[in-house]
Symmetry: C2
Subunit: 391 residues, 2 copies
């Protein structure tokens, strides 16, 4: 177990109807002039945006609006938001939506108080200062409601890159599981896959003696595997939604990932896919992760076997641990298929013709030095081979 | 799963030698005039107090000292600390020690800025305001380094009572597992028992659909059961100490206890024991918890059976689940004995003559209304019976 610092000062408000109190929390965390940032029509159609506005109005908090966030949020809208915040003297950014809206809000919040180009942060500069951000979460997936991270796609070159820093941990996040009940089964399954991927990225490590975080990650994965089929079968299952929603936060605020090297190459690989094909992030991860596991399994068969036995309930084959490890990966593929996720590039709507280009960009694009990943360092040829395992 | 709020803004710094940076963190969190609060000789003998002072001096932070905190910390020293802080214009309380020192520091920090008697907080008034508190932790046990709680014994009547409130969450906590290597096996085992008790108090609930927190608690218990024998066998096992230390924080900052009713009657019962016999809190819990389990098992046999199978590795007896439930309690008793904990009142150094008095005080003392506990409400006669199961 390595040394670390851990700081998660977000105030979480969890439960039915809590979005109606959002004005109170904006006020509590210093907001008086708000950018209300959101995506497309669903928050309007469901009446959620209206309820949020009413709550702000009850607290006499003024706001300007910026809608139009798309999945895989783009730099163009971020620049627009920064201009708007400066012009309107905004002092608080309120995200109403999912990970894309929250990530876009974080970028705007950081960019507004930064003299340079906000993209500097997405090339490695840590974000120390930003306007405070609040969130009303509408999908359990990205974990951005509790994380210091943001991922944005730069339209100049279509690079999808992450930024991080304590400045963009949300001041508060409102988690009402009922708001996720209107998601389609596909969106729900994408969220579930993303949550599980955040856990896998932390699980596969070379750091020794990390039982406490291993066990916490395994506990969250067991929860996901048990609760996911319930919400796929019945989208209105509030209790299953609630369990998944808290698991999604815990999976990514890093309390279960501290003190250990993490991997993150599957996310890097998926980011190339969704930057080129604009596929849903979770669906992309469903295709990438099993292929990445096939490719890296031999690096630490016993870790894969541990996951297989503790999480997937596989019997340990002590004479042939690699068989157990493989059975775990098979179980993951079966699970992802059962919740409606794609299993191949083709099912994802991606082609094979850009594999080399994506592999190159993953390893060299936008300032990277030739490899990705912490568990097994992956070079361009490795990434290319992993892509071919997805065909 | 119930609605809840969760707010844990403590900055955790984890790893070797981090106590040498304490001055930096005091400065970061607004301290310039510090009360340095600690217990007896061990922090002096080990040189820890000297290292802490040097770090403060390097940052030109002035301090006044108040040592002498005892296990089951007393109100007398709290009053003394409050007077000292007011007289010396202290703006930050730094605890160097374990749960007792941290709890005493929290009481002083709250009392200093409160016009009334600090004991009001220990009779149910939530603590909203306090001087900022920092901690350098020397034992993994109470979880006070990450919790909004404090327990103090009032010398006027020997009532041991808890206070809670966001005002006393530590601003920062320094967790260096190496500092716990000098603890005796008995102290270490008391800490382990306390951590596990914090998990049990949360695990036994009547709230339905709480898989995510069940699984997290189970993961932490599995960690404790696996790591505890290592530190008992080798007190210098840094890695086992590290796993236990993070588990101890996670067990009690409540991220694994949100959204569910909790119990806490075993703590209430133990508080009577340690108020009267001044026994170590962890040792008291080792005697109380199995007896409490015997007494309450029938209330929810399946929950006990779940714990037995998932955590203690017992085989589920589907025809007789109560046998599995009992096997889990037996496994707990065996485990506690294996790490050197007492199993009876006699082994704890407590007598039988005060049972009725303690049972009465637990249920009625200091403003309580006649019963304790959330899983099974316990009245005076129940508590008395539970005490008799400890003979």
């Amino acid at each position: 177990m390595n040394g670390f610092t851990f700081y998660s000062p977000t105030y979480f408000v969890f439960g039915q109807d809590e979005e109606n109190n959002v004005g109170h929390y904006v006020r509590r965390f210093g907001g008086s002039r708000v950018l209300l940032h959101y995506g497309g029509g669903s928050v309007v159609r469901s009446g959620l945006l209206e309820r949020v506005k009413k709550s702000l109005e009850r607290e006499s908090i003024s706001y300007v609006e910026l809608g139009g966030v798309k999945p895989n949020p783009r730099s163009g809208l971020v620049y627009e938001g920064i201009s708007l915040c400066r012009k309107e003297h905004v002092d608080f950014v309120l995200a109403v939506g999912g990970g894309s809206t929250i990530d876009s809000s974080k970028a705007i919040a950081a960019g507004t108080v930064y003299e340079g180009d906000f993209w500097d942060y997405y090339q490695g500069k840590p974000i120390e200062k930003a306007l405070p951000v609040g969130t009303v979460l509408t999908i359990a997936a990205a974990g951005s409601e509790g994380s210091p991270d943001s991922v944005i796609t730069n339209e100049d070159g279509m690079y999808k890159r992450g930024a991080t820093g304590e400045g963009i941990r949300p001041a508060f996040s409102i988690l009402n599981p009922a708001l996720t009940q209107t998601l389609s089964p596909f969106q729900t399954a994408c969220g579930i896959t993303d949550i599980m991927a955040h856990l896998f990225e932390r699980y596969f490590t070379n750091t020794q003696d990390v039982e406490v975080t291993d066990r916490l990650i395994e506990g969250l994965l067991l929860t996901m595997i048990h609760q996911a089929p319930k919400v796929i079968a019945d989208p209105n299952d509030y209790q299953a939604r609630a369990n998944i929603m808290w698991a999604g936060m815990m999976a990514h605020n890093n309390c279960c990932g501290v003190g250990r090297e993490q991997d993150w190459s599957s996310h890097d690989i998926e980011h190339e896919l969704s930057a080129v094909y604009d596929c849903a992030h979770g669906a992309g991860l469903a295709v990438v992760f099993p292929a990445w596991m096939d490719y890296t399994m031999e690096h630490d068969v016993m870790r894969f076997a541990q996951l297989a036995t503790r999480v997937w309930g596989c019997h340990m084959d002590f004479a042939h641990p690699e068989q157990t490890a493989k059975a775990g990966i098979t179980a993951l593929r079966k699970f992802l298929k059962s919740i409606g996720m794609p299993g191949t590039l083709h099912e994802l709507g991606a082609g094979e013709d850009k594999i080399q280009e994506m592999a190159h960009k993953a390893c060299y694009g936008d300032g990277r030095s030739g490899h990705i990943g912490g568990f097994v360092p992956l070079y361009e040829e490795d990434v290319s081979r992993i892509f071919r395992l997805m065909i």
